[in-house]
Symmetry: C2
Subunit: 222 residues, 2 copies
């Protein structure tokens, strides 16, 4: 399948792009508001993969262009850009395409990071509300540390969660994602359950900050 990473020049976009390109045979497309920047990053990722013996072509372009070309469109942008980004690419989406939202809302005080969702109750719900009629949205990848994904020397051995109200779309994202070695995909239910999944991100950051030797944390349910 063709996977577009909108905002694919950012940290989580880079991590997902490298992992999909390294472990799977799916096509990876990097989107950005700035198409030249997307193309530059795509070359950078290709070079990194080439250095590991993986000869692959990664396309870069505007968010609209890569969304038009892809089957699965990942909104790898900060939470406050999610709705705008969907609006930008809405006309480029076809029936059968799937939107994926990995963003979470956080704020920070002296104690650490805290879950801070938008008024919709979760970023995943906020994104689903912005999705065009007939295009399912799946929440996924919220709890994955970008740097750990981007470090292809790091074994994963961790879980990620999918959330969605369209079971077929959720199955596609699960199937795609399980092609990444060391990543188990668990079904966390419908989008109504997203806040608990999105809350993992500040928890993982807080635990890393308070315990020596732990960083770029993931988790395994067992």
């Amino acid at each position: 399948m063709d996977i577009a990473l909108l905002g694919g020049t950012g940290d989580i976009g880079e991590g997902l792009a490298l992992r999909f390109a390294y472990h799977t045979n799916h096509e990876v497309l990097i989107g950005s508001r700035d198409p030249e920047r997307a193309e530059g990053k795509a070359r950078e990722y290709e070079t990194e993969l080439d250095s590991r013996g993986v000869d692959t072509m990664i396309e870069g372009g505007s968010n609209e262009a890569v969304a038009a070309a892809a089957d699965v469109v990942v909104l790898a942008v900060p939470p406050y850009y999610v709705a705008d980004t969907i609006e930008t690419v809405a006309a480029a989406l076809d029936e059968g395409d799937i939107l994926v939202s990995p963003a979470t809302g956080m704020d920070r005080d002296d104690a650490g990071f805290h879950y801070h969702p938008p008024p919709a109750g979760s970023v995943t719900r906020h994104a689903a509300n912005a999705a065009p009629e007939g295009i399912p949205l799946v929440g996924a990848y919220h709890n994955l540390a970008a740097g750990r994904l981007a470090n292809l020397d790091a074994d994963l051995g961790i879980d990620t969660f999918v959330l969605g109200d369209d079971e077929d779309a959720k199955d596609v994202v699960t199937w795609l994602t399980e092609d990444i070695e060391g990543l188990r995909v668990l079904d966390a239910g419908s989008i109504a359950n997203a806040a608990e999944v999105e809350s993992l991100t500040p928890l993982l950051i807080n635990v890393a900050a308070n315990n020596e030797g732990l960083h770029e944390l993931g988790l395994e349910l067992k």
Copy 2:
């Protein structure tokens, strides 16, 4: 040390009582609003431990009586009883005693369980607000499945989290708890970070409900 489990006749109280008595040399005291019920459960736990070759004495009594005798007092009661239970035992607590709150607030709809904290922002904060002056409160054990603790044949190999604003009290709870084999204690920071930890409970329940073969889930950060 002497560990009192208030509401120790309930599920999480039973799980913690059996694990502390089985793996550690600390004294376990079972509290209940009904002292006879506490004594009955204490005998039951002793019998279970005896069947595994562990000869130990577990005391049972009123919440007030066991709180008076203990150094660490665990509020193993439903979230809406936490403040009342603290009030009941407040006069029995001495300087140096530590309160521990494992409760989380949840509600449920067709999609699953959701984190639903009291107005204080978390049950741990709600409990800390009710604690008498000078008695530190530590949040712990939120994410532990009661049935898995109570099944002494089950290897744990999982993490739990401590939260607190008194570092010494948090250290005591960490040290006590790490005596339970297979339980790693991670510092999640101050009580301000409690909501993210308490949100794990509905997440773990939802994932167990949506994935075959997973039940009584714990988690390991890695």
